[in-house]
Symmetry: C2
Subunit: 358 residues, 2 copies
DNA sequence: TTGTAAGCGTTATCAG
DNA sequence: CTGATAACGCTTACAA
């Protein structure tokens, strides 16, 4: 591990000069020395010591990504296919810009803060933490922070969040179901955790879209069709089994707030001997890979997960560079993906055209 | 961000004393000062500056995890559900021990080395890199390295690898198929990339198990049943379509070297109107989540991915602590998971008992 | 038991 | 255009 000092010695110049060359401050160096020094740098395989950068507070080039726990009932979100994709996308963006990614998951906020401070990280990406926790981070850390998929309140300010057009997605999908002749549509989402207000939860924007679409189409929203699923898989399976055996709660279509729930539902129904979509139409939200791998293929709302990650890193970098801190609440667009799990209700059945699988 | 020096000043002692307290060298400090200093440390929310640790070469506490590219045809392995799970498991183990995880994916080895050197990382975990690349890392880096899922040659030494009983898995599954009455079993795996020898590829240990199981059971291995699938999805789909339309190459069962390939196959066959397992029996390897989510549920060979990650970190930590470097080639056990994609060939069909889905 | 001082490698400031 | 120097915070060897 050669140092600047050593290279300076070899070149017969001062460390400052070598540093100037390294940082492209070519104006400050004569052509003669420039070339000589550049040559030496190349040959000696110089690697800058990040420790010195850190200590001198010249920018650690570390972006920390902190994952919240309990997205579903797994112990660690990262096993979620959603998390895997987004982390991959972020890593690439971070890497591309010459930064480094530190991945950290810890339910204890104090320890997260500790980590952020110890490493003098330049920016922080919070994945799926709630707004309260965000404000804790924000009050204790003086660095740019971007949240992904956090739900803020109307009056909240001073945050940068990358989210999704959940409301629009819920609306769109519900309208689609209505166009297919469905009038009895239930909406299923997971039990929101914690004592936060319901309107802060991601599932709920989807729900609101669903409800508004119904009303816009003169279908009265019936509260009994809003089904809250338990956080525990086994309990959930029991709930779904009961539903199925009670004529699906008198619904012809079920709108699950997430693909993985929809697929769980499909499997439970399949195992009970029900046919999708003949006995019940099912749709999801997210377009995870599994939604294409299951049979029949799931009709769902597509979100571009990689884009979300990329967008988050872009925002963060802008904040790091410009040090400006305007409030951003970006909602990425969604798209209907029509596949094979919805039955047309106009008397005759007919095969829907569906996308070619890629 | 309070420093040791500042705390020392408050306590009216020297920085050394504070450092001694911080490091639990209680013997070197009088009870009196100990308590006073401890109190101050608590109150001042001290966070040690990792930059100083790095610079002084006192251990960075960073473990870098480097992912190889091109496990399948995706640009970045991390989107692979396999990678997501194992990274999650590793992160927890690393965190638990007070270390930090830096995640890095870059096809360029030089840049990977650069990163490792710049950060003075204490240990390295290589995920899915080939042995040649491993030796490059090893020759340039003087730190413990653990590989996961790298295949080494007989004569290779000086490596620590965590792998799987691939051979045993291949053998086991093939015997199972034979016990179910199958005699015409094909083996499908992906085209090995690069100019390395075939016997270094993970799929191939599985293949050898398959071949040996056949021969042990007096079934002659027929080379035409060893099918190499292309790296490109579209080409692969074409291959599978052709196979199906040619009576599945005169086989009654297909052993795919990986679940995601098996599921791909099932979907192609389903879309062509074939029934699994009535028309063709299919088995996979890995027991990824999707193998349980697809219908019919896939019979496969189970590996404990989280255990693999945990095991890798454990090995690495041992090497960091003890600085001993014995060669380890741990192969984690596998297990048959019998589900619904294999037909019993003894004339009468009968429903196999299958595990309760969890 | 406590304190002093050197050193890690980089960068910025300022003087030549 | 070039160079000397101080500063960042921690650790440890050694001195008191």
């Amino acid at each position: 591990m050669i140092t600047i000092k050593e290279m300076a010695e070899i070149a017969g110049v001062s460390p400052t000069t070598v540093a100037n060359v390294l940082h492209g401050r070519t104006k400050k160096v004569s052509k003669d020395t420039l070339e000589r020094v550049q040559d030496i740098i190349e040959k000696s395989n110089y690697v800058s010591n990040m420790g010195a950068r850190l200590l001198g507070n010249y920018g650690s080039r570390i972006i920390a990504v902190i994952l919240a726990y309990s997205r579903s009932d797994r112990s660690n979100v990262i096993q979620d296919p959603f998390a895997g994709s987004i982390i991959g996308a972020m890593e690439q963006e971070i890497s591309k810009r010459g930064y480094f990614m530190m991945l950290y998951t810890n339910p204890n906020i104090e320890e997260c803060l500790h980590m952020a401070l110890a490493w003098n990280i330049e920016g922080l990406i919070l994945l799926g933490v709630d707004r309260k926790d965000y404000y804790t981070f924000r009050s204790r850390l003086d660095i740019p922070i971007v949240t992904i998929d956090t739900y803020f309140r109307e009056k909240d300010t001073e945050f940068v969040n990358i989210g999704l057009q959940d409301y629009e997605g819920g609306y769109m999908m519900t309208e689609y179901l209505i166009r297919q002749g469905h009038k009895k549509i239930s909406f299923l989402s997971m039990d929101p955790v914690g004592e936060e207000m319901a309107d802060e939860f991601i599932d709920d924007a989807r729900f609101l879209g669903y409800r508004d679409a119904l009303e816009k189409n003169h279908i009265r929203y019936d509260a009994k069709r809003r089904i809250v699923l338990d956080g525990n898989v086994y309990v959930r399976e029991k709930q779904l089994t009961e539903l199925a055996n009670n004529n699906f709660g008198d619904s012809t279509a079920m709108f699950f707030a997430a693909d993985y729930l929809a697929i769980e539902g499909m499997n439970v129904f399949y195992d009970l001997g029900y046919q999708v979509p003949e006995d019940i139409s099912i749709v999801g939200f997210d377009n995870i890979q599994a939604s294409l791998q299951c049979r029949p293929k799931l009709t769902t709302v597509q979100q571009d997960i990689a884009e979300k990650g990329k967008c988050g890193v872009e925002q963060l970098m802008e904040m790091i560079k410009k040090d400006k801190n305007k409030c951003v609440n970006k909602r990425l667009p969604v798209q209907l993906v029509i596949r094979d799990t919805v039955k047309q209700m106009d008397g005759t059945e007919h095969k829907q055209k569906h996308e070619t699988s890629k």
